[in-house]
């Protein structure tokens, strides 16, 4: 992977991109699909597209996934 490849990926835009607001709204449901072993892109393609380019939302996604994975649920 070269800087040129990174630049091209950075500049790519996709009209299906859900944006940060929609992603934040549904992030818990998206994470739940990941935890269940399902493909979240089938249900939320716009969020999958968004998470390819929004570092801040990826950070939130990774944090929520880690928290939910660590959770043993209510006793």
């Amino acid at each position: 992977m070269t800087g040129r490849d990174d630049l091209l990926r950075f500049l790519e835009t996709d009209d299906r991109d859900a944006g940060c607001e929609r992603t934040k709204e549904l992030l818990h449901a998206y994470v739940e699909l990941v935890l269940a072993g399902n493909d979240p892109e089938l249900t939320y393609p716009g969020i999958t597209v968004h998470l390819r380019t929004c570092g801040a939302c990826v950070d939130d996604f990774e944090g929520l996934l880690a928290a939910a994975r660590a959770d043993a649920g209510p006793e």
């Binding site: 630049l7 500049l11 790519e12 992030l27 818990h28 944090g63 649920g73």
Partner: protein, 217 residues
């Protein structure tokens, strides 16, 4: 701590979720709130620790952020309890609030530890910020120069300001949003439009191939 008002059953909630909801709405809210608060503190501490490598914060400050985040997340959860629809476990939904609180509070700490003003444009950083090695940058000098010309000539003042802050200075988007009195989504949209304009400029000047199907250059 304030309790949520009683409302109807939650569609899609399983037994564990129902216990949480009933506990937080019922007559023994303090017990359920205490249990939830413990979970939120644990999640907040883990999230702060996960992000700590990128922060210039000491242990007590990190723990303070975690406790504040858990407290504020608790208030938000109780306020929005009636919006839980059961499309995830209750705890996953609840953790979302604490993750967002940690994210926002860490962003606010960025400016207290920023080394330099973000107004100065330091274009020599562009190759590194875009992931170019010195060798790649030398080979792609024309492309990088075209990116700079696109930023200078194609973007609006606001798009340029956001590009410089996020790309050249590496300001976290939430920190910039706070400074500019806006939000992450609005800045993402600004950058989305800027990226599209830059790409269009590069295509128009022969630096990149035409946009693929499904994209608009």
């Amino acid at each position: 701590m304030a309790s949520a008002s009683r409302a109807g059953p939650v569609v899609g909630a399983d037994a564990d979720d129902a216990r949480w909801i009933d506990g937080l709405r019922g007559p023994r809210t303090a017990q359920a709130e205490g249990r939830l608060h413990d979970l939120l503190v644990r999640a907040a501490r883990a999230e702060v620790a996960r992000r700590a490598g990128r922060l210039r914060l000491a242990g007590p400050e990190l723990d303070d952020i975690a406790h504040q985040a858990a407290h504020d997340a608790m208030l938000a959860i109780l306020r929005k309890l009636d919006t839980f629809r059961g499309d995830s476990r209750f705890t996953t939904w609840a953790y979302k609030f604490v993750i967002f609180e940690v994210s926002g509070k860490i962003a606010r700490h960025f400016w207290a530890h920023a080394d330099e003003p973000v107004e100065a444009e330091q274009w020599e950083r562009l190759p590194d910020r875009l992931g170019f090695s010195p060798e790649d940058a030398a080979e792609s000098a024309d492309l990088l120069d075209a990116v700079r010309r696109a930023v200078d000539g194609q973007l609006t003042d606001r798009q340029r300001e956001v590009f410089v802050a996020l790309v050249l200075h590496g300001v976290p988007v939430d920190a910039l949003a706070e400074r500019m009195g806006t939000n992450r989504n609005a800045l993402y949209k600004t950058m989305f439009d800027a990226r599209r304009k830059i790409r269009g400029f590069l295509v128009a000047h022969g630096h990149l191939p035409q946009a693929r199907i499904g994209e608009q250059a």
